[in-house]
Subunit: 335 residues, 4 copies
């Protein structure tokens, strides 16, 4: 951390910062810079709270240098983390395709979609049993009934299943029934949920918050890892910006940046970024070209009757074409 | 809702939209517009899901008209909701000032600050017992011990106390000990928590999510109200933008817009918007000038030793001056 | 346009809106909706100014329906516009690669880079002679000297050259010397410059403003086209968001949306979106996968000595690898 | 500037950075920090280009410390700049109120509005003769005819007049006719215009760009000052964010931050931030409470017939009430 002093800060103010830092157990090193003095706060373990120096008399600015994340960082562990779900590896050489409807609506709906996405090449099936909906009047998911359907889908198709955990109360049930847990964008900083996910025995997909920096996102992953669960899959799903032609703005550069900063795999959810069907294919291919480790795609066989997010769901035949293109592009990237 | 058709959409595509709408129980009215036809979807109760029409062949765009919120809207209930906490009224003629430290750190700290903010004119005391922190390595709050201290503070000072609920597990305890519950910005769309807050017997301060539109915020309040609790205080605390000279950007126009759209009171939290002490006074006064119903301000007697958010905490003497200015300005506004 | 009335707006207020609309020569159609009345404003040529109805007593909201752009829209002209620069076609089957340094610094620098980017596969050479710099103390470009160097580069390499026009004063000179004119992101709504570009005899690359919606961007193109120049190439270069790990956030979904709304070609500038070298390759490939019509890439042979934007410039060998990958991916996309 | 090295950067890479810095004439000081080394770049005059170090092997990050602005900074000149326009002082004890229509439409319109705003208490009259409009089909202003009307308004009312300069071609004419020049938000980084404004003999109102940081805004002012004109009035007019209930988001904290960083006066334009009439009063009062030096307000006597931005224009009687409230609040702030 660098404490930048006012241009005419007197020596005693500089000394006060140095003393405070050393009282807190850090080493402080004044750096004369010409016009003004800065003070380096050194040998700190983990990042230092800006608050300890901001607002001191004579302090103009406090600039953090150390990143606050540790265990999730590539500096902590250099090789890629590969997450195994049955025979599937997420973060390895193959691209992982997770597909299914926004919400489980009935056994028939789930099974029909699961069979078609499997046929097209998806390796995991997704479907919400508990749905976080912005309106209390919208369909909130089938709950335990939905989990049981997911279980049957796995039995019949062999596809591992992914579903969202929305709170501590339903966590155990979801953990029992599914293979991969998902934490949604609105819960990225639900720290109680993150701590519980850290105790889970199943891998966790952690979606990026709608307005989260990569640092905040990795810190959310750090919560899970610090609580004992190393199997975390990050999922970029678009961020909120002024742009109004898509529901959110897919932040493609998050892929290389996360891969540089962290050893965890990162997948992309183009469906939620787009919010509308005809942007899903280009955003998917763009993600693959930028070397995402996987895609999570919403598919519905009757989108106009879907109880949730029909507008962004691909039809099975569209998904089939997407899979074909994705596979070819992945091959090309591997060359 | 207005379904806008492509410029050369054939009659059969128009008919298909009309039929679908009528099958769903709405009335559909084609509106010829010169170049293209639009179809009004009418007599719907509540807002209609765009997904039901977006992605239809021949549909260019779907434009929502009806707002999705009901019970929280001023169209539903015209007079202002005034919330009573003991003798205090929030949303009435007086401005409510809620003050205290970010986190309860010790009985002495809490009591010292409480006495000084009461002296200055605060009418409620705030302090976190359970803290949502972006790092798992940061102080997470004193928990139940903090709640007990809050309880003592109320006993000794007579100030009602406000504290945050962060999950379902601690909800009962917080509800037992405090007078007003707070739901934080990161939990604004934690729908399980909102539903539980709807069952609570105490008023709830609902902070705006960092990237939430007013519509989403009011829908979060709708969750609480629909579940049985009408005592909701909205709290504007700044939104995330590209601006980097404050932690968040205080959205002043949210005050008049919320007051127009909803009957609920709205207060402002300038401390979290600013993130730094010297912006707190101007943002507070600006909020009062824009007719906020209250302020929530962080105060600490030793900010450089605070375990949380010291940089944005006012010193007691700064808070005292703020209260004097706020009261004068409120008087002026009332004239 | 749809004028949405207050829930309890009286008939006379509705009549007043209708009358005003008809006085302005529109047709107005009241649409009863259950709770409230909306009024469709119909048979307008071009979009109607919201201001004419917003703020009327009894009016709750005014919702535009018609898009304001005409000549640039795909509804106006359905087939893709292909722009010819010598033998090169922009917007056709081949992907166009434009490369070169941010600024022309010397003849040797320009020529060395031009030869290497040509070798790698670039088909146009770019280089700034007049540079818009955020600091008055930064290098402002070589001016006319830079243009002359560009001219020599074209002579020796056969590559058509692209350079930025920054104001009316230098416009004629730039137009004389170069093959394609560029209007920068900060000038996207410099309407005087756009009008002048409309009189130009050379194609214009129009960069998207840092905070421009697609509608505003297409309206800027409309200015150029309305003034007589149909040869416009749109260039997505990232938008300003809260995201801080890249200089701007490349808005990939702008590619399919522009291609749907307009007949004009769209290229991508990943260098300015990234702001840092190691994001340029993934953003380039992502753009190609999303079917961009071209790329504009900054290349410098000695980035650490560049007078402008060295950090985002690729080295010639990196650019060479990029071109190879881009071509393979383009081939794949065409299959 | 601080160059942060990778955790395992070898000594030779550190030496390379030091050498490069010293070759460029800076002093470089390696700072061992525990895990990694950072290198302070010292004794630089003005800010150093990040590009010179970013992308070096072994360099993780480059963190700027020095602000790039000089002459406009409060560190350069400590006392407030007060700008005189006739008898009026902008940036002094009195709050400056500038009012008038978006565009001059006729002599009668201008004169009627001018008389009423003068009566209400405005001290300068504004009105556009050259209008930057997002559509080429919108009214572009009366041009020279508008300037002549402004001139008559001044003659008859005694109010100094403000109007916008949109390009180099019309600059001389506007400078001749008006008392204060305005540079609009879309031209904030039109550097040719800024340089010309630096040669002008009249004060310049410089509006903040829609997506400009304060640093970029002050650098735009630096252009004007460096070119010879010290009379610059900054104008906050809202920034573009995801928020959709106002046209832009007024950034209130820009007022105290600009006043801390710069000696220049700052005024506020609530009309353009709001985009809609009923937010103008609260945003105005909020600005005054936050100690803005002035307000620029759009007023029209027949907003439903205005050729530009009628929806955000106050009626004369609304403006009258606003002035009364503003004056009272200003008095209070001065106490």
């Amino acid at each position: 951390m660098l404490v930048v002093m006012d241009i005419n800060a007197k020596q005693e103010l500089i000394d006060a910062v140095v003393e405070t830092a050393e009282n807190k157990g850090y080493k402080a090193m004044p750096i004369p810079g010409g016009d003004r003095v800065s003070i380096g706060i050194l040998y700190n373990k983990g990042s230092v709270d800006k608050s300890h120096f901001l607002g001191f008399e004579g302090v103009k600015e406090v600039i953090p240098v150390t990143k606050p994340y540790k265990q999730v960082s590539r500096e902590f562990k250099n090789e890629n983390t590969i997450i195994k779900v049955g025979d599937i590896q997420i973060g390895g050489d193959e691209i992982t395709i997770i597909a299914g409807p926004c919400a489980i609506e009935s056994e028939k709906q789930a099974m029909d979609i699961a069979l078609s996405v499997k046929e097209a090449g998806a390796t995991l099936f997704r479907g919400g049993a508990y749905k976080p909906r912005s309106s209390p009047y919208s369909f909130q998911g089938m709950g335990i009934g939905g989990l049981k359907i997911l279980s049957k889908v796995r039995e019949e198709t062999g596809l591992p299943v992914v579903s969202e955990v929305i709170d501590l109360e339903v966590f155990d049930a979801v953990e029992d029934y599914v293979d991969v847990l998902q934490i949604g964008t609105r819960n990225m900083q639900n720290f109680s949920l993150l701590k519980r996910a850290g105790k889970a025995k199943k891998p966790v997909i952690l979606k990026r918050g709608m307005a989260a920096t990569i640092e905040e996102w990795l810190m959310a992953a750090e919560y899970i890892m610090e609580n004992g669960n190393p199997d975390i899959i990050l999922c970029e799903r678009g961020v909120r910006t002024f742009v109004n032609h898509s529901r959110n703005t897919l932040d493609i550069s998050a892929i290389p940046v996360v891969q540089k900063e962290s050893h965890l795999p990162i997948i992309t959810d183009p469906s939620h970024a787009a919010g509308v069907r005809d942007q899903v294919l280009p955003l998917s291919l763009a993600s693959v070209a930028a070397e995402t480790d996987g895609l999570m795609i919403e598919v519905h066989n009757k989108p106009e009757e879907a109880l949730c997010d029909g507008a962004q769901s691909l039809l099975p035949e569209q998904f089939d074409m997407l899979c074909k293109k994705v596979r070819k592009m992945k091959e090309l990237c591997r060359e």
